[in-house]
């Protein structure tokens, strides 16, 4: 503290320590905040076709398509410690080959500064819905869930699943040609 440089060094180092304490306090203040809300999911016009899939054993796989309608109001989840929300729609189902299959069909990043009501009407899935095999034709119980990843400013990433799902029943006939 005898010279200007050592005083500057002390003040700066103390400020950094105080900043880390404040960051930890920010993290503690949002440990119990709300992570889940209600959403409405609707999937119309489910159809399945067979496509050549050179990666699989049999060489052919089921390829499914739906039209997505999602309504989600995620504003209660945002607080001063949430930077953005990464939400994704997952189709979960069981087949004789695999106990559980999870396929992500659609995702979206919602920043804190943007509108936090997500409404998708008749949206096409962003990613292909290809089964591991040929088990989607006539499948009665493919459930669509909306999940999200809460990306904080300070602390760990939390995962959450929204309240609300939709069960898709695929027809028992393949569609020929392109969708």
């Amino acid at each position: 503290m005898h010279s200007i440089w050592s005083r500057a060094n002390s003040v700066f180092a103390f400020t950094l320590t105080a900043m880390s304490a404040v960051t930890f306090a920010v993290f503690l203040s949002t440990i119990w905040s709300q992570r889940v809300t209600d959403v409405t999911i609707l999937a119309t016009n489910p159809r399945v076709r067979v496509m050549p899939d050179y990666i699989s054993e049999s060489g052919r796989s089921d390829h499914a398509m739906v039209s997505l309608n999602i309504e989600a109001d995620v504003s209660p989840i945002f607080n001063w410690n949430v930077k953005q929300l990464f939400m994704y729609l997952v189709a979960e189902y069981k087949t004789p080959k695999n106990t559980i299959n999870q396929v992500v069909l659609w995702d979206k990043i919602v920043l804190r500064s943007e509108r936090s009501v997500v409404i998708e009407t008749n949206a096409a899935p962003k990613y292909y819905f290809i089964d591991d095999g040929q088990h989607l034709r006539g499948h009665e119980n493919v459930t669509l869930y909306l999940k999200w990843n809460i990306i904080p400013n300070a602390g760990y990433l939390a995962n959450a699943k929204a309240e609300g799902s939709y069960q898709v029943k695929f027809p028992s006939q393949y569609v020929s040609g392109r969708f």
Partner: protein, 116 residues
């Protein structure tokens, strides 16, 4: 900083950035109090308004304020000057020594304790 000041032209060389020991402990307490209070105020304001940038803006403001108060050598930090014992050899300064070398005396016993 004092080394840099010695490289300036002659009229400016009498400035110094030291503060005495009582001033150093005052300065340390002052900046610690300012930064802790700025952290607490920043946290409370940010929590109430739910904006994180406010918290760090207030902390940054506290940092700037602490620097302005503590870094320059205000007279408040020089109230208890150190009373150096007079160096017996230096009590007879010669004009030749003052003009030959800039500020450095040819006396080998001196080791930089002169802060007058």
């Amino acid at each position: 900083m004092d080394g840099i000041i010695q490289m300036l032209p002659a009229p400016l060389r009498r400035f110094s950035t030291y503060i005495d020991f009582a001033g150093q402990s005052k300065a340390e307490k002052i900046f610690q109090v300012i930064i802790v209070i700025a952290s607490i105020i920043g946290f409370v304001v940010g929590y109430l308004l739910q904006q994180l940038w406010l918290t760090f803006a207030i902390l940054g403001g506290g940092f700037v304020l602490a620097n302005l108060i503590v870094l320059p050598c205000w007279p408040y930090f020089r109230k208890n000057p150190i009373n150096w014992k007079p160096n017996p050899v230096d009590e007879r300064p010669t004009p030749a020594a003052a003009t030959k070398k800039e500020g450095a005396s040819p006396n080998p016993k001196k080791d930089g304790k002169k802060h007058k």
